[in-house]
Amino acid sequence: MMEIKIPEILEKKEYLKLPPNERERYVREILRQVVAMNPLGVTVSVLKDELPFNSRTLEKHLSVLTFTNEIYTVKIGPNSLYLPNHKALHHESRELINLKNREYIVYAVNNRLGEFVLIQEKKPSHSNRMDVGGGILIPKESFKEFIDFLVKWSDEYDKNST
């Protein structure tokens, strides 16, 4: 059986006492950390064995993390292997800008699928903590083209608005 590293987790009776929205954030953060700690990837079945969450909960949060591009998946036969994008992040490339109470962070990413630029949005949750709201991955070789596209769009939009 595949052995994976996991962080210290709360006992089930403890985390069930959390309010529902905090419970969701807790599970997602644990999964974020587990995937980051296992650069060779994890599957749902392995996670189910090691963590006190059911398959449905795991799949739900893994798909959110995939949607925000914090992790990515690789199909191996019938199974999906979840791999960390953050492990592939070049932290020295990280830059952040604060715009109207949201944070936008840009990273260079180098994973099995190639080189990318990750733009991540973080917004305040109800408890005033910053949560990942979304993220897009742009292939690195096309990034300049993407920026030119955005600048052109912005100029057109301003022209049409006036």
Partner: protein, 421 residues
């Protein structure tokens, strides 16, 4: 001296002195002293680098005002390191006034705790098999659960304090040592897990484990367990808060020093080399600097240890008698002693701080209790600021400078010399 940066960028020049305002008067004086005074061109009290406020005192002290205060010259209070001490020891052995302030708080919510304590206080345990403390453990400990811990942490994070202290119960008695230490470990574990996941996963804040304890509980048998409880997870700061005076017993002092030395050694093996704090102490803190402690916390012009006599006095005995910190004797002295000494010098104060040397005499200030209490706090802050400046910037290595401080022929405080050889 070790310059260090907290995660939020604030700087400390360790070893450091933090002060602990406990009343609105403490807070007002702290703001005005920081704003107005200062002999050097920087002004203020730059060598007092941090402020510790207990949870129960946050409203009284006006914590938001402290965090936002800007000085006319020199570093503002907002630039100092600000920490909230959850101080759960108050609910077990604080004054009625402070307990009530805690129990009235909505977030964290102490309502259930207040109700349970009310029930406990109505019981006469004399004829029962169960002791009061066992009943407290059975009824109160389960209420200090994940949601209580989360609310306490949230309170600190919402105020943007600089070091987040994970709450825990105090260690107060050998009879229930195992139960108390188990609960501390549990609360630390839960708090650490919460910080790692939902409260501060990006590690924007410094995290701290703090154990409040009676120094008589530190001995050769308990040192390993206390140390292990403190260091069970890697956080940025470890702290001990003393709930009673170790000076009264030479053995207690020796065990405390042994413990600090062992903690210092243990700390060197850890990856992130956390800072060690010793809170709720006075001049002992300078000696502790020489045994691995980086940050010391002093209440302002107050004896740190207060025994609730059952009377509802909001202020400890030293406050009621208005003792003055004598910078040459290195101890607090009663007004009568100060007056007798000052008589020989035209009633001048035995101190060159700006408060003491502004022309007013001892006899002019001592007559009015309100004016006196305000003055001696102002003097305390200025005198301590200068003491720390001298000790840290002495040409001698720190241990020798601290030794010279206590070995001064005018000093009446030689208790710690044997730990500074």
């Amino acid at each position: 001296m070790i310059k260090t940066r907290l995660r939020n960028g604030k700087r400390l020049d360790m070893p450091s002195l933090f002060v602990n305002p406990q009343t609105s008067r403490d807070s007002q004086i702290l703001k005005s002293v920081n704003s107005i005074y200062g002999k050097n061109e920087d002004g203020g009290i730059p060598h007092i680098e941090g402020i510790i406020v207990r949870l129960c005192d946050c409203k009284t002290v006006g914590i938001q005002g402290l965090i936002e205060q800007t000085a006319l010259s020199g570093p503002s209070l907002s630039e100092k390191v600000i920490v909230i001490d959850p101080a759960l020891d108050i609910i077990f052995q604080g004054t009625k006034d402070r307990k009530n302030r805690l129990f009235k708080m909505k977030k964290p919510n102490f309502e259930e705790l207040a109700e349970s304590f009310s029930k406990i206080n109505s019981i006469n345990y004399e004829d029962l098999e169960i002791t009061r403390l066992q009943d407290i453990i059975d009824r109160i400990y389960p209420l200090l659960d994940i949601n209580f811990i989360r609310q306490t942490l949230e309170f600190q994070l919402n105020l943007n304090t600089d070091i987040c202290v994970i709450p825990s119960v105090p260690l107060t008695t050998m009879n229930y040592f195992d139960e108390q230490i188990a609960k501390i470990r549990d609360m630390h574990r839960i708090g650490f897990s919460l910080m790692q996941t939902i409260m501060d996963p990006d590690k924007k804040f410094d995290w701290m484990f703090l154990i409040s304890l009676h120094p008589r509980l530190i001995n050769n048998n308990t040192i390993p367990k206390i140390k292990e409880t403190l260091t069970m997870h890697q956080v940025d700061h470890y702290g001990i808060k003393l709930l009673n005076d170790p000076d009264t017993d030479p053995m207690q002092l020796q065990f405390l020093v042994n413990f600090l030395d062992e903690l210092d050694l243990e700390r060197e093996t850890l990856e992130n080399t956390p800072s060690i704090h010793l809170w709720n102490t006075r001049e002992l803190g300078y000696m502790a600097w020489c045994h691995g402690v980086n940050i010391v916390g002093n209440p302002i012009a107050t004896y740190p240890y207060f025994r609730d006599t059952g009377e509802d006095h909001p202020e400890p005995p030293s406050e009621r008698t208005g003792r003055y910190y004598h910078p040459r004797k290195k101890i607090d002295v009663d007004k009568e002693i100060l007056l007798n000494e000052a008589r020989k010098h035209n009633y001048a104060f035995p101190c060159s701080c700006e408060a003491c040397s502004n022309g007013k005499t001892v006899i002019e200030l001592i007559e009015d209790p309100r004016r006196w209490n305000k003055f001696r706090r102002t003097h305390f802050l200025l005198a301590k600021n200068e003491e720390v400046n001298i000790l840290k910037n002495d040409e001698l290595p720190l241990k020798r400078a601290v030794h010279a401080f206590f070995a001064d022929p005018q000093s009446d405080n030689s208790t710690y010399l044997r730990f500074l050889s």
